[in-house]
């Protein structure tokens, strides 16, 4: 605040140049009012709050390097014979898309580096979004007022997957071309419109000459444009809502504790951009990614084993790989369930996590704003659901790489497939149950720590010869941290008959809600936290077992 006040204090001589420029801008853009509320905005510090920043910065890196790549890339499927500098490809027929990718890699100085930064940053972008999403999920940061921002983030993740996929397809190499062929199969499998859609999207028979230019437009213009808009909205909402914070001394639902944007956060966040860029550049110097020259150009009659998409599509790949071969023929029509079912389950699994905040808020009936994060153990049902979802996701990711696990761990590909088929259904259930038990155990431990103090590791011998471990009482900060969470009562449906003895009509939704509410707040999910009375009773007795 001192910056602005000093600007208005009396001063001799004309204002310095910077100030005059700022005045000019303020007269047109109103920057002073904007800066007043934002320049010293407080951001809490925690490493997990920076996962979203990793995603943001990798997105910027992708855009910067992507613009550079468009200067050299020819999104054309016209066929040429290669005569460039990479010997094992000389004399081979390929599309211009593939040829220009080889040229970027072998004839443009630094082109290979930029290509590798672009691709590595894309993998990190999706990975960071996923981990960021999980951080938000497990700490309950999606609760009111942030549900809309959760959806924006989710959309960014989904769009990121498709932007990544279209980009992966652009070089028209044998690996990505196989992926495009898969897309053709998926489109063909659609009931009623499949074959028409396929001809429209590919501009005729597969592969045609249109799909790469069309993917190019989608990859560099359509999807990134939408993502940029969503990203700006996402960030504006982060600013507007102010960041959540972990519980702790001095942190309440009505404040935000941390460092001001100017200077500390700006230096840290700005510096972090360079750190992220630096790390990704170093990775691109050390590790090769998508070496299209080793993969070769696409030809529809060629293929390689280990045909996988990039990791973020591995989940969908797994679903398709482990699906049994069901197909239905009726009245001259065919439904290819071997493709249709995985392609329907894929969005369903994603939507399950996307709508979760709305389900939880409906079950809880909680209309308040939440700015203090939950400790995952205190909300075992949510944590259990999150773990179950992750297990389903990663089981399918394993399924997507079943051939490589088979060769590298000397297993049978058929056994892995069967394992994945079963684990996709059983794993999440076991994960849910186990996570809930672990959460309850941690809640009990917290309670124990509050009431009996921390185990100090000091062994004392009592006069009568008994050995005990000395427990040190917690300080007030710790006590507050372990007891600050709320433990509401589960929703009650009330008596089944009203005062006149007539059965009350309860909608199915109400019953479901009560049931779910019980799973959130019932005895199975909550260890009653210690009360002040309990604490006093035990500590005043100044002796414990």
């Amino acid at each position: 605040m001192s910056n602005e006040t000093s600007a208005t204090t009396t001063r001799r001589g004309p204002a310095p140049r910077g100030e005059r420029i700022a005045d000019w801008a303020d007269g047109r853009l109103g920057i002073y009012s904007l800066a007043k509320s934002n320049m010293r905005k407080i951001f809490p510090d925690h490493w997990s709050f920076m996962l979203g920043e990793v995603a943001l910065y990798s997105f910027i890196i992708i855009i910067l390097t992507g613009v550079y790549l468009t200067l050299f890339f020819h999104p054309s499927m016209a066929e040429v014979t290669y005569h460039g500098s990479y010997v094992p490809m000389q004399g081979i027929r390929m599309t211009q898309a593939f040829e220009s990718t080889l040229n970027i890699s072998f004839d443009v100085r630094g082109g290979l580096l930029i290509r590798q930064i672009h691709h590595w940053a894309a993998l990190v972008f999706l990975a960071a979004m996923m981990v960021h999403m999980m951080r938000v999920f497990f700490t309950g940061a999606f609760r009111k007022p942030r549900e809309v921002n959760w959806l924006f983030g989710f959309l960014l993740f989904v769009l990121g997957m498709f932007t990544g996929f279209t980009g992966y397809s652009l070089p028209d190499d044998l690996l990505s071309g196989t992926g495009v062929r898969f897309i053709e199969g998926v489109i063909l499998a659609m009931p009623l419109v499949g074959s028409y859609l396929q001809f429209f999207i590919f501009g005729g028979e597969f592969p045609g000459h249109d799909i790469i230019p069309r993917f190019f437009t989608v990859h560099v213009l359509l999807l990134p444009g939408i993502m940029l808009g969503l990203l700006v909205a996402h960030l504006i909402l982060v600013f507007y809502h102010k960041h959540t914070q972990f519980p702790g001394a001095g942190k309440t639902n009505n404040n935000v504790v941390g460092m001001p944007l100017l200077p500390v956060y700006m230096a840290k966040a700005g510096g972090f951009f360079f750190l992220v860029f630096g790390v990704i550049a170093a990775i691109a110097a050390i590790a090769s990614i998508n070496p299209v020259w080793a993969i070769g150009p696409y030809r529809p009659d060629q293929v390689s084993t280990g045909a996988q998409p990039d990791w973020y599509m591995g989940f969908a790949e797994g679903l398709v790989r482990v699906m049994p071969g069901w197909e239905w023929n009726f009245w001259g029509h065919t439904l290819n369930f071997g493709v249709l079912i995985p392609i329907l389950v894929f969005p369903l699994v994603l939507v399950a996590i996307a709508v979760y905040p709305f389900v939880e808020s409906w079950v809880r009936g909680d209309k308040r704003e939440h700015h203090i994060l939950d400790r995952p153990r205190n909300v075992p049902t949510r944590t259990g659901f999150g773990v179950a979802w992750l297990i389903a996701y990663f089981v399918m990711l394993i399924g997507g790489g079943n051939d490589l696990w088979a060769t590298h761990f000397h297993l049978s590909i058929n056994s892995i497939t069967w394992f994945v088929r079963i684990a996709f259904f059983v794993g999440p259930v076991l994960g849910f149950i186990a996570t809930k038990r672990i959460c309850l155990g941690l809640q009990r431990r917290d309670k124990d720590k509050v009431l009996h103090g921390r185990e100090s590791g000091i062994i004392k011998r009592l006069p009568h010869g008994e050995f005990i471990e000395v427990h040190e009482p917690l300080d007030q900060e710790q006590l507050h941290l372990l007891t600050q969470h709320e433990q509401p009562e589960p929703l009650e449906l009330g008596p089944e008959v009203d005062e006149n003895g007539v059965e009350r009509k309860l909608s199915r939704a109400q019953k479901l809600r009560a049931k779910l509410s019980k799973s959130y707040y019932g005895e199975d999910s909550v260890i009653a936290k210690p009360t002040v009375e309990e604490y006093k009773e035990i500590t005043s007795g100044h002796g414990h077992h």
């Binding site: 925690h46 490493w47 709050f49 920076m50 996962l51 990793v54 010997v87 094992p88 004399g91 081979i92 890699s105 072998f106 290979l112 590798q116 590595w120 993998l123 990190v124 990975a127 960071a128 981990v131 044998l174 690996l175 972090f272 750190l275 992220v276 790390v279 990704i280 990775i283 691109a284 050390i286 590790a287 090769s288 990614i289 998508n290 070496p291 020259w293 080793a294 993969i295 070769g296 030809r299 009659d301 060629q302 293929v303 390689s304 084993t305 280990g306 996988q308 998409p309 990039d310 990791w311 591995g314 997507g400 790489g401 051939d403 490589l404 060769t407 000397h410 049978s412 590909i413 058929n414």
Partner: protein
């Protein structure tokens, strides 16, 4: 497994082991001993067949039958040719250690001379592909680019883009081609060992095979370039994804922890 352990208790087991040990000793001696002067061709050939028969009786007959006619444990070797023997024994696959989904490559215990003798014996059982000449698999006069295209059409579906290997059904696999002698690659194409289909001159011409071997030498040799850096096994997106998560995101989280950590406080004095 079962069959082998059952056989371990066989009264003749000790004898087999002893003979095997003798063969190894003899083999080692032959390896270190200076080679005899080449004798007249026909005598050398018949001598080789005779020696080969002896070696066969010790190392191969238990599964393939005393005359190479095959038993329930091993296929007939009539007509497989010298190339098959040179491949199977030269890569250490034969004699097999144990039955399983697939017999893996292992250290070869025979000398080149012994392999030639075995090959001569098996070739005498019935005509088959012969061991290729060096000129057939050397990269002189080969077209690497064409070889790559042929490799992607005929080989990559099982052995991966650059021959890193891949999975087949029920625990079988297409092995990596890294460090495999070009001669053995040629022989494998010609004879189709185990579940690999053969690619006789009708499916892949001699020049085709030469091109393929030259391509493999260029992309999967000791000196093969990986301009972008670590090739991560050459396995494609799975290893790239793992690397991106562990080293990419992992490094960035480590950096984030440093950025967000509280600075050390001065000690209270």
């Amino acid at each position: 497994m079962k069959k082998l352990s059952a056989r371990r208790r066989h009264p003749l087991a000790a004898l087999v082991v002893l003979l095997l040990a003798l063969a190894v000793t003899g083999g080692l001696y032959a390896a270190f001993a200076p080679a005899d002067k080449a004798q007249a061709d026909d005598t050398a050939q018949s001598l080789a067949i005779k020696e080969g028969k002896k070696l066969f009786a010790v190392g191969c007959a238990s599964c393939h039958g005393t005359g190479g006619q095959g038993t329930s444990d091993g296929p007939s070797l009539v007509g497989v040719g010298a190339a098959a023997v040179d491949f199977q024994v030269g890569t250490g696959r034969m004699p097999a250690q144990q039955p399983g989904a697939q017999v893996p490559r292992k250290r070869n215990i025979y000398t080149n001379a012994q392999i030639d003798q075995l090959a001569a014996y098996v070739a005498s059982l019935g005509a088959g592909p012969t061991v290729p000449e060096k000129s057939q698999y050397s990269s002189d006069g080969a077209n690497i680019g064409k070889g790559g295209e042929l490799f992607r059409t005929n080989c990559a579906q099982c052995h991966n883009f650059t021959g890193k290997g891949g999975a087949l059904t029920n625990g079988k696999f297409a092995p990596t081609l890294e460090g495999v002698d070009p001669k053995h690659i040629y022989e494998a194409m010609e004879t189709g060992p185990q579940n690999m289909p053969s690619f006789g001159d009708g499916s892949l011409s001699k020049q085709n095979k030469k091109d393929i071997i030259a391509y493999l030498g260029a992309v999967n040799g000791d000196e093969s370039e990986s301009p972008g850096g670590l090739d991560l096994g050459g396995l494609g997106p799975v290893s790239e994804g793992l690397f991106g998560y562990i080293f990419g995101l992992g490094a960035l989280i480590a950096v984030a922890i440093w950025v967000a950590a509280r600075t050390t406080k001065a000690k209270k004095s």
